[in-house]
């Protein structure tokens, strides 16, 4: 670990997290839409409760969808769900990165502020 971490490095890390998250999720969603068309023969959107994203909470949904995706069954809703999870986790990761940064540079004020944001988001994502 380098001794002096600059705010510039944090900004650089944040920038990478955001760009990877967005490009990754858009690519996965595109693949999901194509797979949906391939397996259904149409692109109709169905608004039945069973097609809404759901899980015990966001994190357990994310874990389930990630583990299922590893089996590569090319199930459209799995792929679409994976893209959604990646998209939603992107801003969350940048807050987490900021908490770590302010902890490392011992800026207690901003450690507290970013931690507050992280705790609120985590709580809200855990609510069922």
């Amino acid at each position: 670990m380098r001794k002096t971490l600059s705010e510039e490095q944090l900004e650089s890390v944040i920038s990478y997290i955001l760009i990877i998250g967005v490009i990754g999720s858009v690519a996965i969603e595109t693949l999901g839409i194509l797979t949906y068309y391939y397996s259904n023969g149409n692109l109709n959107i169905v608004f039945q409760p069973e097609y809404a994203l759901k899980g015990a909470d966001f994190f357990s949904y994310a874990r389930t969808i990630f583990l299922e995706s590893l089996q590569l069954r090319w199930e459209p809703f799995q792929i679409l769900g994976l893209g959604m999870v990646l998209l939603m986790i992107t801003p969350y990761m940048r807050v987490a990165a900021s908490v770590i940064y302010f902890g490392l540079v011992k800026n207690l004020k901003y450690l507290f502020i970013t931690l507050f944001v992280l705790v609120i988001l985590t709580t809200s994502l855990l609510v069922h």
Partner: protein, 276 residues
């Protein structure tokens, strides 16, 4: 019933216009989807997630250019996420009819956003209060148009926080970024320079949207079949719009956007009134 291809086409257009006008496509997306028969709460929930993509995509480059004030963003996010969670919770429970009226009222504020903000502003000699100083709310960036390093200080952090709570509430309730409102708070209350203001607002929008989206996820209002083509479409539209930004006459784009907003306001009001 609407299909993904139609949603994709609408989103590309909304993302494109959003990038050209700087107002974000979120606010016009929902009313258009509603016209196509999508239930208003589903449209709002999907918009909320979509905004994460457009905001994060453009934030990535602004942060790298060091224009965004990340400290101000972190401080203000405490308020926007709290507002967004409350706002989204309200939407999950209230009558859909009321949402039409709230939406129409909000769209009207975009007229203000479009009329102003044409001139570049560098607030001078800002007297920083103690709280803002304690929060280290100052910074500098290189302004390419003015060809100089701009140094600035912010003030009124406590009032700015309050303004952001309201912005977060509107964002969470309507599934929008509320960018124009945030920018106004940044410039009028906190005294941020224009460029810092809009890029910082963009940065905050991603987190605010996640806070709202978390509530919509828990409420079972989030349909990936709707959200996926929206996320892809608005991102593609925004990238293309951003690249063509200087090729379109600013006036023409703004008039076009104003006409769309006007039609949408009328339609949302009409729906709100005639809904049983």
């Amino acid at each position: 019933m609407i299909d993904m291809l139609t949603v994709l086409a609408i989103s590309i257009l909304a993302g494109f216009l959003g990038a050209l006008t700087g107002l974000g496509g979120g606010s016009i997306m929902t009313p258009i989807l509603v016209e196509f028969g999508v239930p208003v709460k589903y449209a709002i929930a999907a918009s909320m997630v979509t905004i994460i993509a457009t905001s994060s995509g453009s934030a990535a480059s602004y942060v790298k250019q060091r224009i965004t004030n990340v400290k101000a963003a972190f401080y203000l996010e405490m308020f926007t996420i709290t507002g967004a969670i409350v706002g989204a919770t309200i939407t999950a429970f209230i009558q859909p009819r009321l949402l039409y009226f709230f939406f129409a009222a909000f769209l009207l504020t975009s007229f203000y956003g479009l009329s102003g903000h044409l001139k570049e502003d560098f607030p001078k000699a800002v007297k920083q209060d103690r709280f803002s100083k304690w929060l280290e709310l100052h910074g500098s960036y290189y302004d390419q148009a003015a060809r100089k390093q701009v140094k600035y200080k912010m003030t009124n952090a406590h009032l700015g926080g309050l303004g952001m709570l309201v912005a977060g509430l509107a964002a969470g309730m309507l599934g929008i970024g509320a960018g124009a409102f945030k920018v106004s708070v940044h410039e009028l209350i906190l005294k941020m320079p224009s460029k810092v203001s809009s890029t910082t607002s963009n940065f905050i929008i991603g987190i605010t949207a996640l806070a709202g989206a978390s509530v919509y996820f828990a409420s079972g209002l989030l349909f990936v079949g709707l959200a996926a083509p929206m996320a892809v479409g608005t991102t593609v539209g925004a990238v293309v719009g951003g690249r063509l930004l200087n090729r379109f006459p600013n006036r023409l784009v703004r008039y076009l956007f104003l006409i769309i907003v006007f039609v949408l306001v009328v339609q949302m009001l009409y729906r709100g009134i005639t809904l049983q």
